[in-house]
Symmetry: C2
Subunit: 511 residues, 2 copies
Amino acid sequence: MHNLIGREIPDYIDGYGKTVPFSGVFAARPQMRRYAPPVKAVRPGESKLVKNLEEVFTRIPVRDGMTLSFHHHFRNGDEVVNDVLATAARLGIKGLNVALSAIFPVHAPIVDHLRTGVVRSLDTNYVSGPVARAVSGGLCASPVVLRTHGGRARAIECGQLKIDVAFIAAPAADDYGNVNGTSGPAACGSLGYAFPDTEYADTVVAVTGHLVEYPLAPISISQARVDYVVVADRAGDPKGIVSGTTRITEDPVQLRIAETAAKVIQAAGMIEDGFSFQTGAGGASLAAAYFVGRMMEQTSVTGSFILGGITGHMVEMLDRGLFRKIFDVQGFDLEAVRSLATNPNHVEIGSGFYANPFNAGCAVNRLDCVILGATEIDTDFNVNVVTGSDGIIMGGSGGHSDTAAGAKLTIIVANLVRGEWPIIRDRVMTVTTPGETVDVLVTDQGVAVNPRRAGLLRVLRAAGLPLCDIDELKMRAERLAGGSRVAIPGNKIVAIVEYRDGTLIDVVWQG
Amino acid sequence: MHNLIGREIPDYIDGYGKTVPFSGVFAARPQMRRYAPPVKAVRPGESKLVKNLEEVFTRIPVRDGMTLSFHHHFRNGDEVVNDVLATAARLGIKGLNVALSAIFPVHAPIVDHLRTGVVRSLDTNYVSGPVARAVSGGLCASPVVLRTHGGRARAIECGQLKIDVAFIAAPAADDYGNVNGTSGPAACGSLGYAFPDTEYADTVVAVTGHLVEYPLAPISISQARVDYVVVADRAGDPKGIVSGTTRITEDPVQLRIAETAAKVIQAAGMIEDGFSFQTGAGGASLAAAYFVGRMMEQTSVTGSFILGGITGHMVEMLDRGLFRKIFDVQGFDLEAVRSLATNPNHVEIGSGFYANPFNAGCAVNRLDCVILGATEIDTDFNVNVVTGSDGIIMGGSGGHSDTAAGAKLTIIVANLVRGEWPIIRDRVMTVTTPGETVDVLVTDQGVAVNPRRAGLLRVLRAAGLPLCDIDELKMRAERLAGGSRVAIPGNKIVAIVEYRDGTLIDVVWQG
């Protein structure tokens, strides 16, 4: 069976079940109801405080084969996942499904838990570091389910990802389970990725190092949904949230790409009052945001909102009045944390609000423009951010496919060559984001417009941008890389790439 | 069939169905799942703006027999209910169930809609004015379901009250359905009673007079749950939210009751750091809060939170540092609205968070003390706030039974005689709140302690409070009233009084 974009999808995959092939960005129309978690009752005087993780495991109780969920706001400073899984290992629990919204190098102990059988399967939106390499090598008994940020919120809300126990890494909590991410010494900012888990898990456990007098305020996660509060040394190390570089690139090639991307946005007529924008935290993305901000200033434009993972650079744009609001699903640095705590125009949002395609309208639907990266892009504009060209897992969609689907203008920025590999391929190793949702590719050697966007092509040409056909760019890339190699994947499916609506856009073979 | 407190409850009631008798305050243990509303999908570019109510009726479409829900934050200034029902009448729709969290004199047009059959039944937590009299007179084809504020949240979350269309009176909204109650000329403050409706209704419509540029912030009700936005002249008249008197009583009898209530709280050892408190907006309640505040100041005590419907007097206590937080489910005056908009320690909460007995822990569970009123109380401390002693409906529980169940100390304040009726009865006309949850009755002629509270009786006696047996107080009341009359009810059930857990605590017979 092949899906709409020609990727081979087995009818049935062991450890996953029957598959539904991707059939178009907005083709799926849900005919279902939300997941219905069990109803609770807590009487006055009952305490939720539990002295440690072992005791909470016993009280729930956590059993073999359960799905435990976690959020990734502490990123590479996360400590709760490792503590919880070490507890499971100590108690002899086996076969857990770990639904962790993103996996970082700090989560290396998961590799051992996969070996010993404590963990049987993983469900995540992004995976890097030792766990990614282990998964690519075939260590996981069941294929990893790779989702988008919006797709995870959807899967939880619609009951495809059923969570037995959600663990909340809580920078601050009171003894009745009110939680926020902006108070206390381990403040990490938004807790938005944990919102669906909290709402739909059968049991919710908050783990905090900062227990405050009842009641905590502001409240991001409510006592009405939290069953237990465990006091630990801390919820995580906020220093670990800083994502790669948070400084604007000084590399002239990257700066040129960034400036070109900004010119594309301008030529597309988007630098107008009400402009909404999302970009990543990498050096080139930050540079593009800088150029966009300068254009807005020069033309006295006030944007409506900045969306997604937030850095101090975006906070500065809010503070300078370039945008009216920030919608923050995750903080990428401590400036973002401080701003969320103090500026009422900096708004914490959940991942469902951010990007769930199956609710009454998510925020990505209102995006004018998003700038995204790629490890590969094919001549039909399908983008890979899951694997390298060598087929080894090194990331995941996160909000990539969600924002691409929602935004009016989706720009991919990339150097034509990545390591030794040309970035443009006849066929990407793995499709994360369908070409239907990608409008423009900006490289160091020219700009290619998706032929589906004839109108956009005209205005960009009129603006004098260095346009070329994507096939031409591909040839340049191959010349620069010294030819196009194709990695030969193994014959075992190690990961399943779900599109945001839950259909299968691709699978990852053993690398 | 008689329930635990001896009230006769038919097995089956026409228009309601099979009944479950009240069997104790915390006896019911839920074995069920939350209601699962239908999953939606909204694509980029789709608009939620609808030009008027008629069009939204057609788009949904609203059909005969549906349940339409409304919240009562505009109280006697509400306009949305009348506008929506007038639209239904114009379109020839019949047999609607109106689930409006509280009904005020302004809702008089409902009487006509009951006569013409546009409205068939009512589901509410409080009903006063012409609708109350019409219901008592037997105008409603089905008995009215009277719930508590927490019970309504529970019934919606647990699927006993299924809402086809929830209408949100939105002081401010953007075109994608983000709503708050604190912005714009018709700001009414908290929208907490609308939170369960928004989360669980099949369709949600926001009606606003103040449409702002996307995105609105702060967000109380989210675009992810709102299907349509209708722009009207205004959402309601905020002048109508002011509830009766908002000034401390000057009546010496009321002042004595209030001061005695404060002394009871002090004698019970509650004036300590972390004290939490709820009281109503009447003159005597405000006076009691004043005396409590003075005691806190004199002993340098800092309370934790004030809960419930909020007035400027409570805001002043927050501002003066007597309490650390306010949990606000409803504003009773414009000072409360202003404070909610500007003070991060003044927190908007939903009715589920406030008082739903079937979640992971509601705020009333953490209350130290609540001061409540009564139209009648019997010698077993059962309280009536639904009907007068004449059997005519004139109110409802609202948060009465919820807070009484949650608080460590529940104080009823009342004059011994109400109109011509003694307030203490052998048997109240209607039971709203079970005596098991009522600790102390404070009257102008003495204080009676529930004999279930032997320890409390000792400390209040030691403190020199004017204690008497409730039977003795009853005799005094009868002497003052010139005897005890008993109204003879009719033989048709006009209302069902659900306890907060959904069991039947009483029924109301035609008056």
